[in-house]
Symmetry: C2
Subunit: 149 residues, 2 copies
DNA sequence: CATGTTCGTTAGCATAACTCATTACCTTTT
DNA sequence: AAAAGGTAATGAGTTATGCTAACGAACATG
């Protein structure tokens, strides 16, 4: 909580936020290049990731979650369906809406992708010493929480 | 160091790497939307960031650092020059090459951009409790190191 | 039942990356 | 010294991925 910290740590907070922002941006840029399937765009991958978390969602929900406009999501979902990575079904209560579900094939691909990026990141992390890695390990769950606030 | 950790923490390491990857990807996607200047693409911003770190560089060097093809960098540099954010000069030793330097205007804009993203991230971080934030603060410098390994 | 709203989609456009080809310059070889 | 090959930047054209505007179908409300 930055708004009501004791005076002494204000500067540290600013430095930490700055370091964090910088590190996140750079790491993400490099992680992006570790795609398992070159034929899938980052957003398409991201949609699959969201589906893996939520189980299923309507195109509109997906568009909001990915910060993308609905027409873009239409095309993305169509692309994913054409590749056999998602299924489209009719919504139970509302016939305007559709429900997007991921296929087993998508699950497998996503797992492979996670495995590859994790391997790359772990390789990078081997450049840290024991103490440094301990700090990262402690912060990892917090960062995950931070990302979904 | 993941390769030679005691058996007990292997599982924790994998989980941490996984959480870290996921958090970095999501945070970066949201940070990207916090652009200070909508007329500059993420890569163009990134080039300015690189220049701020290195002082100056040739288009070719920039292309390699940004993982972009040389023709793309030509266009990016031209755009930045047109906006008065970089200067192009002749290379001292090699007349094929050019040297790209950032202007004072770029420095100011970059600082403004950092400030905005930091503010956004800090706002987000206010959703953490004291203990969680302490872990992030401890890990931040390590993450920065990790990103440039 | 009439009107307005929401959802997904279609069509058309803008941007920013890529590949391939070209020009200018350096380096090495003969 | 001249020729051959390599490297830097760039130009032209293509592809990918997002956007906005406009639309039809299904719901919700007066």
């Amino acid at each position: 909580m930055l708004t009501n910290m004791p005076e002494l740590s204000r500067g540290d907070d600013a430095a930490a936020v700055n370091a964090l922002r910088s590190a996140v941006m750079r790491l993400s840029r490099r992680l992006k290049h570790q795609r398992v399937d070159e034929s899938l765009s980052p957003t398409e991958m991201s949609v699959l990731g969201t589906l893996a978390r939520c189980g299923h969602a309507t195109p509109g929900e997906l568009a909001r979650k990915e910060h993308v406009q609905p027409p873009s999501m239409t095309r993305i979902v169509a692309m994913l369906e054409a590749k056999g990575l998602v299924r489209l079904e009719a919504h139970a209560d509302d016939r305007r809406q559709k429900v997007v579900t991921q296929t087993e094939q998508a699950e497998a691909m996503l797992e492979e992708s996670r495995r590859k990026r994790n391997a790359w990141l772990a390789e990078l992390a081997s450049g840290l010493d024991e103490d440094e890695w301990a700090k990262v390990r402690a912060a990892a769950p917090v960062l995950e929480k931070l990302a979904q606030l």
